[in-house]
Amino acid sequence: MGKGHFENWGESAIADNSQQTDTSTDIDTDDKNQFNSGQHGGQIVVDSMEGSMGKIGDPKILRRLAQNREAARKSRLRKKAYVQQLESSRIKLTHLEQELKRARQQGMFIAAGASGDHNSVVGGNGALAFDMDYSRWLDDHQRLINDLRSAVNTQIPDNELRILVEAVMSHYDEIFRLKSIATKSDVFHMLSGMWKTPAERCFLWIGGFRSSEILKMLGNHLEPLTDQQLMGICNLQQSSQQAEDALSQGMEALQQSLVDTLSVGFTSSGNVGDYMGQMAIAMGKITTLENFLHQADLLRQQTLQQLHRILTTRQSARAFLVISDYMSRLRALSSLWLARPKD
C-alpha cells in the first residue's frame, strides 16, 4: 500500500527524505487538524481510493489512511517551502555580512538611498582609500614596533638597533606622505580624524596628534639625558608649542573669515551672481584649510625628526616604544568604551 500509491498521486517529485523521516511525526499533528477541519478533502480521497483499493474494505480505516497521506503531503510541501525560505535567508545574511565587513573596513555608512552625486563618490574614494591605507600602515607599524621591542629587550648592538629605529622613522614618513595625498582629495575627512578611534579623536589637533603633548608625555621616560640633550628637548617642546599656538590662531582666523564670507547679504535680496561670488570665495578658503592641515602634519613630522636627532639610538628606540604604547592604550580605551554595557 505505501509507496506505490504516493507515486500515483504525483508525489514522486518530493524528496525521499521527507517521506521517510518526517511523515510519521507530521501526520500525528496534522491528523488531528484534518479530522477537525479538512473532512471534505478526506472524503474525496476516500472516494477515489475505494475504486482502486476495494480489497481493504473498512471505509473508516481507508479514510484515515487517506487523510494521513494528505496531511503528510501537505506537511512535506510546507517543510519544503520553509527550507527554501531558510536557504534564501541564509544567502541574504551572508551578503549582508560581507557588505557590513566591507563598510566597516571603509569606515563609512552605506546610507539607504545614497545620492548618485559624482562629487561625493570622488571625495568618498579619497577618504576610503586613506582609511584602508591607514589600517594597513597601522598593522605594519605594530610589526615594526614589536621587532624594535624584542631588539631592545635582547640588547642587540647599537648599529643593528639603529637600522630598526631608522625603519620606524621612515615608516612614520610614510603615513605623512599618505596624509598629504589624502588631504588634497578630502580635507574635511582628514580634519575629522574619523580613521582614529574615539579616545584618540578626543585629543585631535588639526587632523592629528599634538607634538607638544607627545613630548610632555615622553618627559621622564627619556632619562638619563645629557645637559645638551635636556636643553634640546626643552627647546623642542617650546618651539613645537609655539608653532602649534601660531597655527591654532591662524585656523581661528580662517574659521572667522569663512563665517564672514558665508554671512554676507542675508537680508538683502541679493542676486545669484553675488551668492555665487561668495561661494567661490568660500571655496578658496577651503584650499587654505588644506594648507593649515599640511603645515600641522609637517610640524608633527619635523618634531619627530628633531627628537630622533637629539636622542641616541637607544633613547630613540625607547621613545618610539613609549609613543607607540601610549597610542595603543588610547585605542584599547576606545575598545573598552565601545564594548561597555549599555542599559
Binding site: T226, D227, Q228, L230, Q238, S239
Partner: protein, 167 residues
C-alpha cells in the same frame, strides 16, 4: 657695422631699479631684523605673525595689497620661492628664510633662534641653562600648559649632540 657688446646696464638708471619689485623686496628686507611680506586677508600670514610675536619678536610687516608695486612684488616673490603662494615670506637679517614650512622647520630644528639673535633680536629668556636647573624646569613645567621661556647663558649657533657622555 658691429654692435656694441657693452652690457645693457648702461641703460639702467638708478630710477629704474627703484621700480624693480625684486630690488624693492631686497631693500625692505634689509632695513629691519625680521621682515614679513604678507597680504591683509591671509590667514597663514596671521599665523606666522603670531609665531614671531609668541617668541617675543616684533616683526616688520608689509601688506602687499597696500603696497605700491604690491602686485609686482607678489609675482617676484612667487618666482623667488617657486611656490604657488607669494605670501607669507620671511626675511631675517636681510636673508631669505622662506615661507611657513621653512620658518616652522627652522624653528623646530633649532636654527631660527640663533638666526634671530644674530640679527640682533633680543629673544626673551628667563632661566639659566645648567643641568640641575633644566631638570627643575622640566619637572616644573610638566604640568603647566603655557611655558615660561628657557634662557641660555650662551647660545651656540650649532648644537652638537654628538658629544654624549653618559647615557
Amino acid at each position: 657695422m658691429h654692435y656694441q657688446t657693452q652690457s645693457w646696464s648702461t641703460y639702467l638708471t638708478p630710477t629704474t631699479t627703484l621700480n624693480d619689485p625684486l630690488h624693492r623686496i631686497e631693500r625692505l628686507a634689509s632695513e629691519n631684523a625680521v621682515v614679513i611680506f604678507s597680504l591683509s586677508g591671509c590667514c597663514m600670514c596671521h599665523a606666522i605673525k603670531r609665531l614671531f610675536c609668541g617668541m617675543g619678536v616684533n616683526p616688520t610687516v608689509y601688506e602687499l595689497d597696500h603696497e605700491p608695486l604690491g602686485k609686482e612684488m607678489e609675482k617676484a616673490l612667487m618666482r623667488l620661492l617657486g611656490t604657488g603662494s607669494p605670501v607669507p615670506v620671511v626675511f631675517v637679517g636681510g636673508k631669505l628664510v622662506g615661507a611657513m614650512d621653512r620658518v616652522m622647520g627652522s624653528h623646530i630644528n633649532g636654527t631660527l633662534v640663533p638666526l634671530l639673535k644674530e640679527a640682533g633680536e633680543d629673544i626673551e629668556e628667563e632661566e639659566d641653562f645648567d643641568g640641575l636647573n633644566v631638570l627643575a624646569y622640566l619637572i616644573k613645567y610638566n604640568g603647566v600648559s603655557s611655558l615660561p621661556r628657557p634662557k641660555a647663558k650662551c647660545c651656540p649657533n650649532v648644537i652638537d649632540y654628538s658629544t654624549k657622555n653618559n647615557e
